[in-house]
Amino acid sequence: MQRKRELTFLENLYVPEIVRGLVLTSRHFFGNLFIHTAHLVGLMKNRSAAVTFQYPEQKRPLAPRLRTRHRLTVREEGTPRCVGCMLCETVCPAKCITIVAGEHPDPNVEKYPVRFDIDLGVCVYCGYCVEVCPEDAIRMDTEILDIAAYSRQAMKLDIHELMDPKLRKPVPECTLKFPHQCRVHKPVLPEAPQQRSDLPAVVSRNEPPGPMVGSWEAVYGKKD
């Protein structure tokens, strides 16, 4: 522990110490001003004059192991790698994953998700789903950090957004060919139920399923 030290005579005079402080701040000032000026004429672009990041335009470099928003990895033909084994839904400590499995036409695959929802408002970003997945079907490497929404409903991701991290709400149109419960072909956000103000809010975790859309013929072509 640093105990309070007696000041030396020079330090007691204040003025030399004040000058020392001014020299330090002025050195930063003129050094940074020089680099800023050099940037204006297009020089020294490799040296930054500030330690700050101009956030929306300039993103911080992220660590490769950082867990960011989830995505579902995709097979070559455009179907999810997920085999609907429910391990992630089971391991999830926040219970934010909802999977409805369907039968895959390929007997080697057996199952696939008809519906795969993650509620980001509940997710704790623990990464257990990624760890537990035997198929490498879910990853948290989208580098999407700016997750914000005006309602709880809008915090819920469905299979469209999970398979294509570039999609943003409201998802404009469904491009998934395989049969799935589609929220795009129906109104994405169901009308909020009328809530009486004198009662505690009731938040439904699961929305009603959307209609089944798509066909395996569209993915694999007509069987002979």
């Binding site: 003025v15 330090l24 701040t25 002025s26 930063h28 000032f29 800023h36 004059a49 700050t52 101009q54």
Partner: protein, 375 residues
Amino acid sequence: MIAALVFADIGIKLALAGIVFFGVLNLAGLHTWVERKQSAIMQDRIGANRASIFGIKLFGLFHPLADAIKMFFKEDFIPANGDRLLHTLAPFLSVFFALVAFAGIPFGDRLMVGGRAINLQVAGIYIGILYIFAMLSLGVYGVILAGFSSRNNYALLGSLRATAQMISYEIALGLSIIGLVMIFSTMDLQQMVRAQGGDFSRWLPGIGRWIPMWGIFLQPVAFFVFLTAALAETKRVPFDLPEGESEIIGYFVEYSGMKFGLFFMTDFIETVLVACLATTLFFGGWQVPYLHPDGFHFPWGATAAVGHLVYVGLGIASFSLKVLAFCWLFMAIRWTLPRFRYDQLMKLGWIYLFPIALVNVLVTAGILAFLGARG
């Protein structure tokens, strides 16, 4: 004919006042930008750079504009039990006394236009120093009225702190310039600046010709006392106990909108005023080293003739440059030093600055008497 001359005189005075107000108010407004930008660059940041007009950002120079618009459109709040008249009057008093003090500052030499000599000073008062210090002292009224009329204990305490601080430091401030008044034997700032045009060749043969006879070389100790006391007068860090915006509450708690903005402006106007005073008293005002009315007389013997308009222009440029340099220095000090504790503040004012200024006056008087006796 006489009426025309009188009107011409009035016109000239109004023009001078306009020029001074234009310069001072713009500089004070720009201070809000300088404050953000300079502190940012000092601390390895970028600073305000988002305000844009049609995509033109201009290093964030539109931020003062945005601030002013915001201030005007905010609610103008007067506390329910506050004194409506005094509460409204206080910020105007503050800014008024800070602004009128500039009348005494000479910003250039005599300008000869069409056979008429225009003194580049709004009011050629022959007790200019007293006038400026009187106006600085009257600024306390704005502060104490603001705290008193708000009907808020914290505001009142803040204004008491401010008053105590300003009065304490005015004594050191006043004493620090007595030495200069004795040396130049005048209270007229224009005279004082003119007297700083000489050099030290009379007393220091050899290098004396290189050193202009500026106040800082005549009174170096007084300069430091003046600088410290003047910083305290502006009520900014490290002497910002009256407001202490980060934790203790200041005298303008109950102010909002442009009235708060006026107090804010007053601080910046006083900073500019103090920079002008330091320049005028200690850094030769509008004097350019080695420049005399007929041109440059360099100490190595070279001379360069200079026209009258160029001479006056160089003087004004020199004055502005020095003022800007002081503004930069004050800003650098503001962003370098932490705030004093209240007892440290009072101790610095009464136990260090006041006696130092007194001793400085005595020593100056002794030296002057000695030199006078020698002839």
